[in-house]
């Protein structure tokens, strides 16, 4: 019975920590200035918070069938969360609602300018090279 009490306590700590991460994400969603920094806040409960809550749940349930299900939930979440984050981040970048004044450097804008220049320059590029 001693072991049960210890496992329950650890499970409770995990659950509370996960809920605290959710609350921190809520606070960050309200306070942060633009989409990209809010997405950093959103990644927190989706990864570490969820893993902690699932761990707490597994420590309480303690049967093989349920633990395998919880492992699957964790794996699926870890596989899918970056996809959504990447799609949203990629869409948000060219918009103007990003606070450029808070950026230290922006090494992506050079890359995008280069691609645009390549695309714009492609049709005219042929003549000066071959006429020599």
């Amino acid at each position: 019975m001693m072991l049960d009490a210890i496992l329950d306590t650890v499970a409770g700590i995990c659950l509370i920590a996960g809920a605290l991460l959710c609350l921190a994400a809520g606070i960050a969603l309200i306070r942060f200035p633009d989409v990209l920094s809010r997405m950093h806040a959103a990644a927190k409960p989706q990864v570490l918070g969820l893993l902690l809550v699932l761990l707490g749940c597994a420590l309480r349930l303690r049967t093989g069938v349920d633990i395998t299900t919880l492992v699957l939930v964790g794996l699926f979440q870890l596989a899918t969360a970056p996809v959504a984050a990447h799609m949203v981040g990629r869409t948000a970048y060219p918009h103007d609602d990003i606070r450029r004044d808070l950026l230290i450097t922006d090494e992506l804008s050079d890359h995008i300018d280069r691609i645009r220049a390549d695309r714009a320059g492609e049709p005219q590029e042929t003549s000066p090279v071959h006429t020599s």
């Binding site: 809920a19 959710c22 809520g26 969603l29 989409v35 959103a42 809550v53 299900t69 699957l72 799609m87």
Partner: protein
């Protein structure tokens, strides 16, 4: 365990409330998509906490489904927003 359940519920309700404020205030559709993702994470945490509290695994398949299809919403919103902005 009841004390823990009450604390976790209070924290999650506060988190969900703050997230709802962001969903309502916007400003862009992407903010709302991100906040909806967080709300989904809060809901998953709530379901898992309920399962842990009552030691009842009935709701666990719901978690599997949510973890699998949860990202579809924001991906479609992102695609929709990117197509609209390029026009």
């Amino acid at each position: 365990m009841t004390v823990i359940a009450v604390i976790v519920t209070a924290l999650l309700v506060a988190a969900g409330g703050l997230t709802l404020v962001r969903i309502i205030r916007g400003p862009s559709i992407l903010d709302r998509a991100v906040a909806t993702d967080v709300l989904l994470a809060v809901a998953v945490a709530a379901i898992a906490t309920e399962a842990a509290y009552s030691r009842d695994a009935t709701a666990l398949p719901v978690l599997v489904v949510l973890a699998l299809v949860g990202f579809v919403g924001s991906v479609s919103v992102a695609r929709f927003a990117s197509r609209r902005s390029s026009k």
